[in-house]
Every structure is written in C-alpha cells, then in structure tokens.
Amino acid sequence: MFVSVFILLFSVATLFYWLRSTIQTILDSSQATAEAIRLAEANRLEFPMVRQALAAADQAAEYGRLVESLRHDFLALTYLLRFAATVNVGRYSYEEKLLIMDFRVMRMVYTLGRALSPRMERFALLEMTSVLEHFAGVMSRRMSSFALDVA
C-alpha cells in the first residue's frame, strides 16, 4: 500500500520533470538565433531587447513593461505561425502547442514570482523570451523556404 502510494507520487513528479526536460531540450536545440533576431527586427518585435535588458540589469521594477512587450510579441508570432507561409492554416504543430503551453505556464510563474521572488520573475521572463526566439526562428525558416518555393 505505502509502496504503491510512494511509487505513484514519485512517478507523477518525474512525469512533470520529464515534460519540462523535453521543453528545455527543444528550446536549447534551437539554432536559429541569428534568423530569429533578423525576423524580430523586420517585424519590430522586442524580445531581443528584453533579453538584453534582462542580461544587463537586475531591475525588478522594469519587469512589468518587459512582460507586456513579450505578450505583444507572443500574439504577433502565434498569429504568424498560424497564418503565414503555412499549409496548415489556423493550426499549430504539436511542438508549437507544447511551447505555447509552456509560455502560458511561465506567465503564471511570473505572476507568482511577483509575490514571492524577483529571481523567479526573471527566470520566467527568460524562458518566455526563449520560447519567442524559437518561434521567430521557426517562422524565419518557414518564410525563407516559402520564398524559395515561390521563386
């Protein structure tokens, strides 16, 4: 009985851990940083500046403005992912759905962090920036191959 309860709790905890680990692996393997920043420049997205701001200073007072910028970028990029240069118009891939879920969870972590700890806020903001960077990289690659196909 106790062994089963222990195994159940331990397994559920590791399941969440593996889910996080998979998301982290996807974000770490994103090699399109340069393309992502170019796309951000072209579309006036602010996530590269947010990353810089987070790296430069540790001013928790600024975080409210940064998270708003990230939210706008998220709306713009998810719109592009659904409707620009894609065959599956209006739909996300499984990978995108997983990362969108991660972005939303990180927004909740950020909200919690505001009450609990600035380090938690910063961590959530960094992960949200990484998700947007990944989306921008995907969009950039997709647009390049679309342009090649059209040409």
Partner: protein, 247 residues
Amino acid sequence: MHNAGQLLLLCVGQALAWGFVGLALFKGTFRRYKYLCIYTGSMIACDILREACLRAYGWRSQEYFFTYFGLDVLLVVLRYLATISIFEIILSESPFRTQARMAFLTLVGLVVAVSYWFTSNLVISRETLFLKRLIVEVQQNMYFASVVLTLMLCVTLAYLRVKEPQLRALVGGLGMSAAMQAASWAVQSLVPKNQFDALWSVVRYISPVATLAMLAIWCYALTMLPVAVDETETERDRELVLVEARG
C-alpha cells in the same frame, strides 16, 4: 477483441515503431541507437504475438494472460538494456568510463533487488496471495525501477554536461513513458477490487498512450533535433546580429 480506440492506438503505435526503426536506418543512427531499435523492434514483434494469441485463445484464456504478461516482462528487460546502452553512449569518451559503469551496474542491481524484495514480501503476506495482484505489483516495481534508472541517466547527462539534444530527447521519452506506466500500475494496485471496473476503462489506455508518447518523442528527436549544439557559436551569432541591428 479490441474496440475502436484500442485498435487506433495499436495501429498508430505500430506505425511509429516502424517509423523510428526506419528513421534510424535512414539517418544513419541505427548503430548508435542499436538497443533502442532492438527494443522498438521487439515491441512490434510482441504486439503481433499478442494479437495472434488473442485470436487463437480468446480474451479470458490463461494462454493469452501468460503471453501478455510474459512478453511485458521481456519488454521491460529490453528497456533496461536500452537504458544501459544510452549510458554507454554518454560515457564513451569519459576517462571515468569503467568506474562509472561499475557504479551504474551496482545501482541497477540495487534497484532490481529492492524491487524484488517488495514483491517477495507481498507473496509472503497471505492476504494478497493471488496471481493477478502479484502481477500488478511486479509490473509496478519493474516500471518503477525503470523510472529510477532513467533518472540516474538524466543525472549523468547533467553531471557530464552532455550537450546532445537528440540524446536528451530520447532519454526524456524513455523517462516519460516509464513514469506514466509505473503510475498506472500503482493506481491499479491501490484501487479496491469493487471500484476497479469503473477505473479500468480509463487506466487501460495509459500504457498504450505512454508508449505512443515515447515513440513520438523518439521520432521527433531523430527528425528534428541535432546530435550536438555548439553553444559558443550560437552566442556569437546572437551578439553579431544585435550589433548589426544596432548599427
């Protein structure tokens, strides 16, 4: 016989398993992930054998019962081998290979021994001395051992700072499926007999869904993720483009 949901899971599972082996051959990683391919191939063979046994002897026969659980034990043993093979890949270039291998094998032995001890205690207590309960406990403990082994693998990956997204995703898939299956067997073990039937309609799907999730992550890893990432280059790229953008 299978209902539509089970049949769908079976077909998708077979397609993903064939897909993984095919991708490994196509991408030239078959030798590197040899034991993962053997494990996946065995899953295909076991599904075919179970299906044949089900058709020959029927759902409630002893033959099907023993074939089903016997093959499950075989698959878990192959899963242990696959886990150890990943450990070998991680340590292939490490100077501490021999010591780490010894430590890992000792821990494998310890986990299996503890798992066996839990099961043998169950047989001794007379209240639970019947076969189905025993099998549920054995399965639960075996999958739990697999969860612990995969976590050990993850600790090794973190300790040696291995930057191989493909390998990390493969380990992640293995860990996620083991955790889901161990949890499902633990739930089966905890639920009283009179409430079991109501729960069974949900619990019976956990194991196939866990296998599907694992195979989907593995196929994704081979198709989309690079074997290694050069972090310094990524960082340099980011800085160059930012400078360019500012200029």
